[in-house]
């Protein structure tokens, strides 16, 4: 009897920790199924989608720049921005521009983005500038017929990393500073990114934007069609 008791005790001692772990694993599995998906933003990609963008993002307009960074990676993008320095805005410019530090960002930030992330880029004076886009009749058509990717505020906020215009004397160093950009883009009005997916395989694309920093990205062929329609 005594020998049996010690055997049982030895057995319990030996298997106590493993048994405990089995119970803990079961509790873990329960937690994983019931709670975990509610607590953390879990995403599942698949073999056919190896990017960082999910189709469901289109429904609620999330991370448009994650899509755009991938989309333009092997494409040529034409846009018009002179990449004027901040200094030049302080002392005036073309009549349609007011003395407005935000004009610097309106003119340049999308340009910085496409210059950094597209396969190739070209500064094309034939691409309409923000003032022209704002007063164009095409804009409403574009908003209605293009695919809306989502708010581009973050996309513009983080374009600072591509902005190589900085005053080495540090007087105006903040102009491409994250904080300054963040203040401008967070909690303010929504900038919107639109893309025409009529011809996604096109090699050359046109990027233009209006004074509200709404982006319109379309293939060069589509742009030429829109341009000739407006000229008529």
């Amino acid at each position: 009897m005594e020998a049996n008791f010690f055997d049982v005790k030895k057995c319990i001692k030996r298997f106590l920790l493993p048994a405990l772990f089995l119970v803990l694993i079961l509790i873990n599995c329960f937690s994983l199924v019931k709670e975990f998906p509610q607590k953390v933003p879990l995403y599942r990609f698949d073999l056919s989608n190896q990017t960082m963008y999910l189709p469901e993002y289109l429904e609620d307009g999330r991370h448009p720049d994650a899509f755009l960074r991938e989309f333009v990676r092997d494409k040529k993008v034409k846009f018009y921005t002179e990449f004027r320095t901040y200094e030049s805005y302080r002392f005036g410019g073309e009549p349609e521009y007011t003395e407005n530090k935000f004009q610097y960002y309106i003119d340049n930030n999308y340009g910085y983005f496409f210059r950094e992330f597209s396969g190739d880029y070209e500064i094309d004076p034939g691409v309409p500038r923000p003032y022209t886009v704002t007063h164009s009749e095409n804009t409403e058509t574009w908003k209605n017929s293009f695919t809306y990717l989502g708010p581009s505020n973050d996309m513009l906020r983080y374009s600072f990393a591509a902005n190589d215009d900085h005053d080495m004397d540090r007087i105006l160093y903040y102009k491409n500073n994250y904080f300054h950009y963040a203040w401008n883009y967070m909690g303010s009005y929504e900038r919107r990114a639109y893309i025409s997916l009529d011809d996604p395989d096109a090699e050359t694309w046109i990027a233009c934007w209006d004074l509200g920093e709404n982006l319109y990205l379309m293939s060069e062929d589509r742009f030429n069609i829109e341009k000739s329609r407006e000229e008529k």
């Binding site: 772990f21 694993i25 709670e35 933003p41 879990l42 995403y43 990017t51 990393a161």
Partner: protein
């Protein structure tokens, strides 16, 4: 064209490229460890191959950026090949026996790695993504590859993202794919294998083979199914790499000495690479690296080994980065995690550790040094007390929020309860069996938690409720060390002194 089809077209070739990168990094790591292969088992070589290959890539990238050489596909690949060739030639010149490469082992490792990579990149395993994942750990690395150098305009990216984390996440843009999900999952799988093996070897010191296998396996499965581990493992940020490199340094540091004063060279090499990676994986990484160096100084490594393989690489790594930021680029973001003041403090701490290793360790206060494993958590506890006195409101709020996050299972699952019960069981065992001796693992675990409380206090804003709070995520990275330490205590293993 539908967005699904468009994404599929864009992704063409991405899968195979990421699989190949993982496989090739594993092969590279295996070859690295082959240089000294007679010292570590094939199993260890296999499990360490990918982490070693990945860490060596990160260190190579860091050296390129730190020396101003363009960081690009060609330079990284060339540098890694040169380094590997150089190491073979140096060891050959020194007359060390170079046995033929274990070709069978290499083929097996490559095959296993290929299969694992196919799974990891397939999308079957989910990931956690937040805003930071898209900008700090994807867009910034893409800019880094495009620019090829650290530049002033990278601004807050430079001060808030650990450079090694950016370099690791630059792999997609160097080698033509889009995300690092497969790389992160592959590292998780390697890590779980290393966790199992290191625990098994420790338990085997006191237990029979069957019990050791069973307990280690169950512990690894427990970890793999624990939300507290998975939150960090799946989150596409720097936490996973920090968690794994820290654990690797702890376990490899514990086993680096086969016999007193005779370290296993392969492990020293791996430790150096992991230590450099840990330093710069997060901005506070240098402090945790210095902490581990002090813990390792309780072992019978010589001062020369500690200085050459641990302290100097860590100090140089951090020094180079801070010099770039504040002496060359003069970055001054209005809001940043790393500041010039913090950088100076880190270098000061580094200098202090160097002074200790060169002038104090083994020379003076020898009686006190014998109690180092007790002193380390003691001093960190005192540091916490000091922070409490300096700003008790902030400290107590952080502590309260930490406990609330655990209680509300914000990323922790039921781990908080498990750990609390585990600690009670440990104390019970300590009382019953009078096991009062603190071990290396105990010191690392306690010290890591205390250091994290200091780091959370020092970062500025108080801890917030919620899984996404960076302080909460930092604490979660200690989970594997906590599990490991508690199991060793409960099983009575790991009680040998340093």
């Amino acid at each position: 064209m539908s967005i699904d089809r468009l994404l599929s077209e864009i992704s063409s070739g991405y899968y195979i490229r990421q699989v190949l990168v993982i496989t090739l990094l594993t092969g590279y790591g295996f070859l690295l460890l082959q240089i000294f292969r007679q010292e570590i088992s094939v199993l260890w070589q296999g499990l360490l191959s990918f982490p070693a290959g990945l860490a060596f890539y990160a260190v190579t990238g860091y050296v390129l950026l730190g020396t101003g050489i363009r960081f690009c596909t060609v330079s990284v690949t060339a540098a890694m090949l040169l380094a590997l060739t150089g190491m073979f030639l140096i060891t050959k010149k020194r007359g060390q026996v170079i046995l033929p490469i274990d070709r069978r082992g290499l083929c097996l490792i490559l095959l296993a790695s290929l299969l694992a990579a196919c799974l990891c990149c397939s999308g079957l395993l989910s990931v956690i993504l937040e805003n930071d994942s898209y900008y700090y750990y994807s867009e910034y690395p893409q800019v880094l590859v495009k620019e090829g150098h650290w530049k002033f305009q990278m601004d807050v990216y430079l001060t808030d993202v650990g450079p090694v984390a950016a370099i690791i996440n630059a792999l997609p843009f160097l080698f033509g794919f889009a995300n690092s999900f497969g790389i992160q999952h592959a590292l998780n799988i390697s890590f779980l294998g290393i966790f199992y093996l290191s625990l098994y070897e420790k338990l085997r010191e006191k237990k029979d083979k069957r019990s050791s296998v069973l307990l280690s396996l169950l512990a690894a499965v427990f970890l793999a199914t624990s939300p507290a581990f998975l939150t960090t493992a799946k989150w596409i940020m720097a936490g996973e790499y920090f968690m794994i490199f820290f654990f690797l340094i702890m376990v490899l540091g514990d086993r680096v000495l086969r016999s007193p004063g005779k370290p296993e060279t392969a492990l020293l090499l791996a430790l150096t690479v992991f230590n450099i990676s840990l330093c710069m994986i997060r901005q506070e990484g240098i402090l945790f690296s210095l902490f581990l160096i002090i813990c390792l100084s309780a072992k019978e490594l010589s001062n020369r080994q500690l200085v050459l393989f641990f302290w100097m690489p860590a100090a140089a790594t951090a020094g180079i980065y801070y010099a770039w930021l504040y002496l060359i680029l003069h970055v001054r973001p209005d809001y940043s995690f790393l500041t010039a003041g913090k950088a100076l403090l880190a270098m000061g701490a580094s200098a202090a550790v160097g002074f200790y290793l060169v002038c104090i360790r083994g020379r003076v206060l020898l009686r006190i040094q014998e109690k180092l494993l007790y002193l380390i958590p003691g001093m960190l506890a005192a540091a916490n007390m000091l922070l409490l006195l300096l700003d008790h409101k902030r400290y107590l709020t952080n502590l309260y929020m930490m406990l609330m996050n655990i209680r509300l299972r914000n990323g922790w699952g039921y781990f908080g309860w498990f750990f609390a019960l585990g600690c009670l069981a440990v104390f019970y065992r300590m009382l019953r069996k009078k096991e009062w001796k603190i071990t290396f693992t105990d010191t690392v675990m306690l010290g890591e938690l205390l250091m994290m409380l200091c780091a959370i206090w020092a970062r500025g804003p108080v801890l917030q409720l919620g899984i996404g709070d960076s302080g909460n995520r930092v604490l979660l990275t200690a989970v594997p060390v906590m599990v490991y330490a508690v199991i060793l205590r409960l099983s009575g293993s790991g009680q040998s002194s340093s």
